[in-house]
């Protein structure tokens, strides 16, 4: 039983990290019709900048805040100078964002060196609890809680605020939003910034979870995030969290029982969804 609980917690924690990356990706695709292959780069930059600040200040919280701010800043720069000139042209978007992904990864090596960097949680998140004979690792619970908190916060933003309403309307019909007197470009930038911030948060949380970070981590997680976006429905925020949990759990269980198939099972899941329900399990742009 304790094995099942631990695998479930592990899957949920991984799922939440993937969700933080996939949520921005799906919102950016839904609203702006942009496939951002550089999103994983923002995830890696969040990890490096946040953990560097953490190592300098000794405060994990300050590290997290700095990672999010780095994400915001890189998000604004990416949207304004890289994505904006290629709106509406998917081929150019793919090429330029893939190029940016490489630049972002290489820049990490230039600044922090090519070697892996180790990371560990702060003292108050180290160790575990024992509940009824089951060992529960504190940091995993922390990641699940943060993921849940972010999901609830973004849901609140989307459902209960005017800007959220505009974002949802923009996902459905951009032209009409503009014809109602709303500057959609500002909404684009806002969404990009939020998406990049979430990705960066995911990155900084991953460091102490996996124990090491490296420049290629963005691309590795971006693949999982793209799988999640396809399974959850492109542009569907709620779908992305459910699909991320599904991918996290299947990865966790498969890694234990059939390790050789742990990534393949996600690919298989995506292929099945694409064949049976091409709009994703939870529908596109919801």
């Amino acid at each position: 039983m304790d094995l099942i609980i631990n695998l479930t917690l592990n899957g949920l924690a991984t799922g939440m990290l993937i969700f933080l990356l996939a949520a921005g990706l799906t919102l950016i695709f839904g609203l702006m019709d942009v496939l951002n292959f550089a999103h994983g780069g923002l995830f890696a930059w969040g990890a490096y900048s946040g953990l560097w600040i953490y190592s300098q200040t000794g405060s994990f919280i300050i590290g997290i805040i700095c990672a999010i701010l780095t994400g915001f800043l890189l998000g604004i720069i990416t949207e304004k100078w890289i994505i904006k000139p290629v709106y509406g042209n998917h081929v150019q978007q793919i090429l330029i964002t893939l190029g940016l992904m490489l630049v972002l990864s290489e820049m990490l090596k230039v600044i922090w060196g090519p070697n892996q960097i180790t990371a560990s949680p702060p003292d108050y998140l180290k160790g575990s609890w024992e509940l009824g004979g089951v060992i529960i690792i504190k940091y995993r619970v922390f990641i699940i809680l943060v993921g849940f908190l972010i999901f609830t916060g973004v849901q609140f933003l989307l459902k209960k605020t005017k800007i959220g309403l505009v974002v949802r309307a923009g996902v459905m019909n951009k032209e009409m939003v503009q014809a109602l007197g709303i500057n959609i470009q500002r909404v684009f930038m806002f969404v990009f910034m939020i998406g990049a911030g979430m990705a960066a948060l995911g990155g900084v949380l991953l460091g102490p979870y996996s124990g090491v970070i490296h420049a290629g981590m963005g691309m590795e997680f971006a693949i999982l995030a793209f799988i999640v976006v396809v399974i959850g429905g492109m542009g569907n925020f709620k779908g992305s969290v459910l699909a991320a949990i599904l991918v996290g759990l299947s990865g966790s269980f498969m890694a234990y029982y059939v390790p050789d198939l742990s990534l393949a099972v996600n690919m298989l899941l995506m292929a099945i969804v694409l064949i049976i329900r091409p709009q994703g399990l939870f529908g596109a742009k919801g």
């Binding site: 949802r168 459905m172 019909n173 032209e175 014809a179 109602l180 007197g181 500057n183």
Partner: protein, 236 residues
């Protein structure tokens, strides 16, 4: 004194490689309903989209209240006081009727609240389905929602594109009545294929053919001009 609220002067619009508008000129007087008539594909919808900035003019000028607006982004044009009801109604299908209205509201003040009350009294169905997603409304209800959304702000000009399209005759009558009531409050440019509706509501008409304005005058005159109706509108 110049009474023109909107003026288009030799407007040309390209969409991709296609030269859709090739010289559209007309004036809209304050307080009137100006109807754009013409066959399918003549350029009527593109004319409205050019005014609101969704298909910006490549040549010529669009002047609203004396100010050139042809180079402004759509949201700025809309904020200047132009409401737009597109041909496909532009309803946000996943948002409720209430949310569709909330997205549209530019100023949360007493005047807007008054206008909201007025329009909801005109279209009680919207009140009835207030919490229902826009995508689940009937064609007529969607049209009402689209018109209500354009009207709720203090817009001086409404651009309404084929409000009767695809609607049952009884619903067309309801929509027509509502436009007649709105006429007392605002200026309207109406694109309409249904000549009965156009001639009932319209004060002035412009005929667009092959992307050019080819004729205009008082609607009363057109009603009696069988030759022009046959030539440009295909009405025998």
């Amino acid at each position: 004194m110049n009474n023109d609220l909107l003026k288009l002067d030799k407007v040309e619009t390209h969409i991709g490689q296609y030269h859709i508008l090739q010289g559209v000129s007309f004036e809209v007087k304050k307080g009137e309903v100006t109807v754009l008539l013409g066959r399918n594909g003549a350029g009527k919808t593109t004319t409205l989209r050019t005014i609101i900035g969704l298909n910006p003019a490549s040549k010529g000028s669009v002047t609203f209240k004396g100010e050139a607006i042809q180079s402004l982004p759509t949201y700025t044009i809309a904020k200047k006081g132009i409401g737009y009801v597109p041909e496909d109604q532009g309803i946000f299908a996943g948002l409720t009727v209430e949310e569709n209205m909330r997205v549209a509201i530019q100023k949360d003040d007493e005047e807007t609240a008054k206008r909201m009350d007025w329009i909801l009294n005109l279209f009680p169905d919207l009140k009835r389905f207030w919490k229902k997603p826009g995508g689940l409304l009937s064609g007529g209800q969607k049209q009402m929602l689209s018109i209500a959304r354009a009207y709720v702000n203090e817009n001086e000009l409404l651009l309404i594109d084929e409000p009767s399209k695809g609607l049952a005759p009884i619903v067309v009558e309801k929509v027509m009545d509502s436009i007649i009531q709105m006429k007392a409050e605002t200026t309207i440019v109406l694109v309409e294929q249904n000549f009965m509706m156009a001639s009932t509501i319209g004060d002035q008409f412009y005929i667009i053919d092959d992307g050019r304005t080819v004729s205009h005058g008082a609607m009363k005159k057109l009603k009696e001009d069988e030759e022009m109706k046959r030539k440009y509108l295909g009405i025998a």
